[in-house]
Amino acid sequence: MTMAPNPPVERQRSTLVRGFLLARTLVRMHPRDFAIAVFGAFIFGSCTVASSKAIEWVVDHVILPRFRDGRVAVGAVVTGCMLVICIGLVRAVGVVLRRTFAGIVKWRVAQDLTMSVVERLVSQPLRWHQRHQSGDLIARAGVDVDMATEILSPLPFAAGTVLMVVMSSVWLLLTDIPLGIVAVILFPLLTSMNVIYQRKVSPHYRAAQAQLGMLSAAVHESFEGVMVVKAFGAEAREADRLAVIAARLREARMRTVSLRATFEAALDAIPALGNIGLLIIGTARVQSGSLTVGALTSFLYMFTLLVFPLRLIGWALSQLPSSLAGWDRVREILDEPIGADPTEALLAPAPGIGVDLRGVSFSYDENTPVVRDLTTSIPVGSTVAVVGATGSGKTTLLELVAGLLAPDRGTIAVAGRSPSMVFQEAFLLSGSIADNVGLGGQFDGAEIDEALRLADATEFVSTLPTGAGTIVGERGVSLSGGQRQRVALARALVRRPEVLLLDDTTSALDPSTESRILANLRTALSSSTTLLVASRPSTIALADAVLFVVDGTIRAHGTHASLLESDADYRELVEAYEHDRDAP
């Protein structure tokens, strides 16, 4: 897998700088929504500071006069209450704006990133997919995108909080320098406490999460193998084994428990102690006449209001490393160059030739070639059985001809240059049967019905609730393996390909269905060239010729009868069936 373009430079940059760059990249995808969210956050921040100011006014102009001097100023009461309520209302509007648009930015960016990853996935050739694990690729489009975009959600809020802290610090310093200094010390102290806490606890959380993943996998495996567990009377042994893994999870979680309890307590104690400190210093300032009781109250009030946002900032900062990790994994997919499309290397064969291979070699890694120096020519309209032991390179041979893999050396010519391949494992998309057969092509109902008929699928399709319109796949009717195979086969047949490639497609079907299908192919697709991987002697015998593949090379190309006669290995391989049958 290729890495990000300039890894050394990336490494040198601090998490904070990289976080900033990531945020900038993502924000630029939807700048307008982000701007509205930040605007909302600024309203929220200003109003929070203003609300403490309102408390000051209420204390100095309403509460104290009433209780100290016994004056009831109705006008002042109304003004004070209106002030508090109006500021609260505007503040609420700011919050709604901020939260709504922060969500919109995050989810829109997530969609864009998921789509970019998917577009990459479909553009990469088969070879690339074979190099990657499917679970890993799915994770990149899903959880990794989620983690990367997680950086966006607290961003507007953080901007609002920073504004709030700056405004209140300036205001405090302007009103009273000693009090201001205490606050200016306390704000960063609280934030950094939070960051330290999150940094300390998150590795433990991640470790616990990893343990949970391991437990889930082990439980899944153990329940899947319950038959074996029961057969060997190993129920107690298995439960003990799982208990050990569960105990590891418990221990990992326990480590977070004490840490969390301690920090939670500290994070409660520090603002409380800070407030008490402010109260004492403030009293001294009131004594010296440089502060009103109302102003002191409002400082304390603001400090109370700020505690929660400061905690969130610490939390947001602590999420940076995981966002960056997610982003790096997304970028690995986006930055990887798209591999060449092997079909472009397919040549057109000479007239009368269906498939022509010249010195074709292919390997997944340099040292162990899967197929070597394949040279053969198959006339148009003939059916050739590819026979060989497990691992001899039969599937690779078909994938090369299909244009799914590009040969390392040699040339491949295929009539029509768009062969259709049916794979060993039938793959159906969630959609209707007709949809799966047509699959993006322009075919009418009659053509699809005919293809289903050739694949011997008409009978079972007609028993389904809505025939070929029946939805199959995860959210639809589940078909048996043989039924899926036949739908996959119809998908190839509807295209009337000049070259048809069947990778052990029909072996899962019972022998009579298989022979019916092969007979259909002979009559309906008589001008198509067919290569089929086969193991049943009865199937092999139906082919015009046999390609006998041994260790990645073509050992022989001839009729079944002639190979039986001339090649002892071939005879052994094919007759293993009959040996089995004849041994009474």
């Binding site: 609300s51 408390i55 204390v59 309403v62 509460i63 009433r66 209780f67 100290r68 009831v72 004070g80 309520i85 609260g88 209302l89 609420a92 509007v93 709604v96 709504t100 969500g103 919109i104 969609q111 998917v118 479909v122 949970l212 439980v219 495996e221 193998g225 319950v226 074996v228 060997f232 009377g233 799982l242 569960a246 418990r250 979680r253 326990m254 309890a261 939670e264 307590a265 409660d268 104690a269 409380a272 008490i276 004492i280 009293t283 009131v286 304390l300 109370t304 699959l439 993006g440 019972d510 009865s538 015998a541 039986l564 391989l573 094919v574 293993a576 069936y577 009959e578 049958r581 009474p584």
Partner: protein
């Protein structure tokens, strides 16, 4: 069977849950006591402010010494209280981890003892979920919700107490004005839960679509449907975004509603407080203290509404877990077990009928798999059972290995009714080798060592020699240390069967039940399987569920099943001569596997 104890109410569920998890109750009293002290720390600051305003900050008479003394007392109280809180939180956290661990372990043991029917493939996900995600809802609950009940619950009680002590009229005003917030929050919260649910569903579909793109990459490439796949994905992804944005919008209203009620309460408290005046016994400090207490009072309300749903899902999770613990283990353990006789075991099946339970939504009623089958197999006989898919062959194997009990009739092994045999005794003596043998992720050796505790590496490699599979073992790169991969995926289907045969051999059963694989294996492996089977079955009663009629042809006796009935019984030759069902099956099979060349 039901996983869902719908009839059990929340309180009853919690009660049963606490009984099922005794670890939870240990020391709960002390934890609550510490939490109450902790909550006291959180009302210290408002009280200190009230005291300072009333006694330290009198106009023209500021008593700094008094405020400093007050500060020292308050700081000490805060430190003590937060220490108490720290211990309360840690105690609850640790207790709940031990409790959940205990619950998990109890579930493992129980689930492994459930019948095979309860382990059917379509239910496996649900069983795994009981031990993982359902327990996780409880973990989440204890880590956040349970903690919040403890801390915020005690805090609200204390805050209310302090408010009432300052001035009961003002306290009631605060309660009445703030009360509707609870209703508003519940209303929004309910909608929010639905919205979250919809978002998760849409995320599920999107990821399902992505996984189609990935797992179907070869089809997408070879049929050139890239554009269509991208369009499909875009459509689901856009629907996901819409659901998520809707959720954000709802959530955006949740938080500010708390803010609004807090300013309304402040305004109401100030107006009424000013109206009441000092004559009512209210002081300026108490009124200022009220402003702070209001904030403390409303903060937990918002949290409570979130906890409420977490609590609900925890109760639902607990209910499902209890449902699994309530499922009877199957087959039931004999109350007074009888020992099986030593040596090869004969089998008597007496008028056995077996019905599969109806699957909800699929079957109208229970489905018969075997109907009134009787037969007797002497020790050391080799029997093949043949018949079409669904004829009852596999059910027979499951009955004989007592993975299930007959609905009617009796299965006797060595003359003893299986229902009277201890499970441990039977597992050692009767062994079922299933069609698709399951291998655990690990090496060949760890998979084989599973057969019997304390097997040596030497005994394991000897087994390969005895079964004439040593040449195959040597052909593997790492021999016994070869990694088999998840479910044994790195081996071919045939190789997995070979491992299963060696595993059965190592367990050395006296009654061997083989469910032959249907899938084609390559010819060389086929030969090896045949050879190993020959060795394995020597001297043991062997009942093979045969899909290849070559197996039947080699057996001492062939049983032919058809739609749950035993229709033919005799040797291969006898049955061929009879020209019945078996003769027909055999002719068809010869035709299909023969080379026409």
């Amino acid at each position: 069977m039901s996983f869902d104890h719908g009839e059990l109410g929340a309180a009853a569920t919690i009660g049963r849950g606490v009984r099922a998890v005794p670890e939870l109750r240990q020391g709960l009293g002390l934890t609550v006591f510490l939490a109450v002290i902790g909550a006291a720390g959180r009302v210290t600051v408002p009280i200190a402010i009230q005291q300072a305003v009333d006694h330290g900050l009198r106009p023209g008479n500021v008593d700094l010494g008094r405020v400093v003394l007050l500060g020292i007392i308050a700081s000490t109280a805060v430190l003590l209280a937060t220490t108490a809180q720290r211990f309360a939180v840690a105690r609850l956290g640790k207790r709940s981890e031990y409790a959940l661990y205990g619950l998990r372990v109890r579930l493992f043991g129980h689930i492994h003892r459930l019948s095979m029917e309860d382990h059917a493939e379509e239910r496996r996900g649900a069983l795994v979920a009981r031990v993982t995600s359902d327990i996780e809802t409880l973990t989440q609950f204890f880590a956040w919700g349970g903690l919040a009940w403890l801390l915020d619950g005690t805090l609200m009680v204390l805050v209310s107490g302090v408010m009432l002590a300052y001035n009961w009229v003002l306290a009631c005003v605060a309660f009445v004005v703030a009360a509707p917030l609870f209703l508003v929050l519940r209303f929004v919260q309910r909608r929010l839960v639905l919205a979250y649910h919809a978002s998760r569903e849409m995320n599920g579909s999107t990821m399902g679509q992505v996984s189609e793109v990935v797992t179907g990459a070869h089809v997408v490439r070879s049929y050139r449907v890239e554009r269509r796949i991208i369009d499909d994905t875009h459509r689901v992804a856009a629907r996901r975004t819409a659901a998520q944005v809707h959720t954000s919008r709802l959530a955006a209203f949740l938080f500010p509603s708390g803010e609004l009620f807090s300013v309304l309460t402040v305004a109401a408290v100030v107006s009424i407080g000013v109206a009441l005046g000092p004559d009512s016994g209210l002081s300026a400090g108490a009124l200022v203290g009220f402003l702070f207490l209001t904030y403390r009072f409303l903060e937990p309300i918002a949290e409570f509404t979130e906890i409420m749903d977490q609590t609900q899902s925890a109760v639902a999770g607990l209910r499902r877990i209890l449902g699994v613990l309530d499922m009877p283990v199957g087959p039931a353990e004999a109350s007074t077990p009888q020992l099986l006789p030593p040596g090869a075991l004969g089998v008597d099946i007496e008028r056995v009928t077996f019905m599969y339970r109806a699957r909800p939504g699929v079957d109208e009623e229970d489905v018969p798999a075997l109907i009134d089958v009787s037969l007797s197999i002497p020790p050391a006989q080799r029997v093949a059972v043949v018949g079409a898919t669904g004829s009852g062959k596999s059910t027979m194997a499951r009955l004989l290995s007592r993975l299930v009990d007959p609905t009617a009739g009796a299965v006797r092994v060595g003359g003893v009714d299986l229902r009277n045999v201890a499970n441990a005794d039977l597992r050692g003596r009767a062994m079922l080798v299933p069609q698709e043998p399951f291998l655990f992720d690990g090496t060949i050796e760890t998979n084989l060592a599973f057969a019997r505790p304390g097997l040596s590496r030497r005994e394991i490699s000897n087994a390969f020699v005895r079964l004439q599979l040593d040449d195959w073992l040597f052909s593997l790169q790492a021999g016994l240390d070869t990694e088999v991969g998840e479910r044994g995926e790195r081996l071919s289907a045939g190789e997995r069967q070979l491992i299963a045969l060696v595993r059965a051999y190592l367990a050395s059963p006296d009654l061997l039940l083989l469910d032959e694989a249907t899938s084609a294996v390559d010819p060389l492996t086929e030969v090896r399987i045949g050879r190993a089977l020959e060795k394995l079955s020597a001297g043991r009663t062997t009942i093979a569920i045969a899909h290849r009629l070559s197996t039947a042809a080699r057996a001492d006796r062939v049983l032919v099943m058809d739609h749950g009935l035993l229709v033919e019984d005799g040797s291969h030759e006898e049955l061929l001569a009879r020209g019945g069902v078996y003769a027909g099956l055999y002719a068809h099979w010869l035709d299909a596997t023969g080379s026409a060349g």
